[in-house]
Symmetry: C3
Subunit: 204 residues, 3 copies
């Protein structure tokens, strides 16, 4: 990659990185824009045409594919995957803030902004759309083209519009069998309060 090394991370010469909070080994690709006040952890891959607004927060080892926008109020935890064209939102009742009838509402972010969190190791499939205010549990697998309208349990496999749970996902990304064991990698899981827990992954 013909990038500029800035400290220990790499920014493509056609990208724009104004943040001072970028972790070691992270790469930011062409035509991406990371605003001042956005935070990105270590060893991340920030794809082309991505936009990170002031207030967006990204953990370590996260992959964000092309064309994704992370707004103020969006948090992506460690090891998550955000597919190409995934759309986040932060306002359930959007109007143009310049419309006179709503200017008072948009004067303070707490009047309208609802936060969204994508949990550790979760995957958001290509072209999915997340309504604001939702929390995606750890290692959940949101299929391509889903519409997420409510909170998602850890390890849940979600499909459709609105997204519904059709199974459970392993840490490795494959479907679990009825005994909550993965036929591909052998990892075992058990039920917890907010979805499944993988017995072979350390939990902080």
């Amino acid at each position: 990659m013909s990038t500029t090394e800035i400290g220990s991370h790499q920014v493509h010469p056609r990208a724009l990185c104004e943040s001072e909070h970028i972790g070691e080994g992270t790469r930011i690709w062409a035509f991406a824009h990371v605003m001042h006040g956005a935070e990105v952890g270590a060893a991340c891959n920030i794809g082309e045409h991505v936009f990170l607004e002031r207030g967006a927060r990204v953990g370590d080892r996260v992959t964000i594919k092309n064309g994704v926008c992370l707004w103020d109020g969006v948090t992506i935890e460690d090891d998550a995957f955000i597919g190409p064209g995934v759309i986040f939102t932060n306002d359930r009742y959007p109007r143009s803030p310049r419309l006179e009838a709503v200017q008072a509402r948009y004067a303070h972010a707490e009047n309208w902004r609802e936060p969204t969190t994508v949990g550790r190791g979760a995957s958001i499939g290509a072209g999915s759309i997340l309504l604001c205010g939702v929390t995606i549990g750890a290692f959940a697998m949101i299929g391509a083209a889903a519409l997420v309208t409510r909170d998602v349990l850890a390890h849940a496999w979600m499909l459709g519009r609105p997204a519904r749970r059709v199974g459970w996902a392993c840490v490795c990304g494959r479907k679990l069998d009825a005994g909550l064991c993965c036929g591909a990698c052998g990892r075992r899981h058990r039920s917890g309060a907010a979805g499944l827990i993988c017995e072979e992954i350390a939990h902080a």
Copy 2:
């Protein structure tokens, strides 16, 4: 914003603005491209990675979020909100214009281009897709991820694929009650020929 002031509007140095018809106070953000022959009114916000083709028309106080393309034939009226990743179209039967069998059709725009209009104060939710040839009424609220396949009444609240009316929206963006009154701001509405009319908003 580290922008270039061009007359009375602002163009980010990584944006490309070739149009001479940009109104006062409008901001055009990074990696956006406004072509020669596109028209944008005053006090608009044109987001990053937006594309305005020659022939696209945008009114005053409009917000266009990231990644939206407005083609020749698309008109956005005053105070409208176009969410991130919204997709417009202008051809119902698209083929590659270089395909020999269709070159005659693409020789003249009137053979294939169908116009789309988003009315005053309307909101198009994130990731919605509008088939060409439709008109969205004033202050309509199109939910995230909708597919709009036909005309939408003024103040209609639309959801789904294809989008269907599930209620009525206030000027302020909240749902109206059964008496067409807004519980949030108190504005009252009455039925008109093409949807609702807000009794407390001046109509040109």
Copy 3:
């Protein structure tokens, strides 16, 4: 277009073209990126904010509208149309490749990458999403906002999520009548092993 002529094709000064395999007469628009190792044929139109990854292959006379990403493993055959915001994928079980539990899987592309092919003259409507591993037949017409989950027959007209066949499309982009004849251009078609065959188009 204020472009740089490079040999016989044109690259917008704000685009980035690193490939040496671009055919004659092809135009690459602003903020697009064609990586080294991507191949594009002659007389193509590569829209703004498009990304072609190393390994993507595009035939002759193809139109790729704004914001489309073609990954390694995606092949677009001659005369095809890819609408704005169409999303391709190349991994059915995506996880962040930096997640320790999946690093071995992502070490070799054959472990996870599934190819996708769009056949000659086919159209992929705006905002459609294609799961990886599918083949779209020649002159198929995929409607806007479809989700393609399996192979599509030649000349099939597909709508919905998941996409289902609702009719047959002519080479010219119009719907065929019950006799497989086009009311618009008069071309006639017959059934073949993998969909329809147009009797008036030469087949290689």
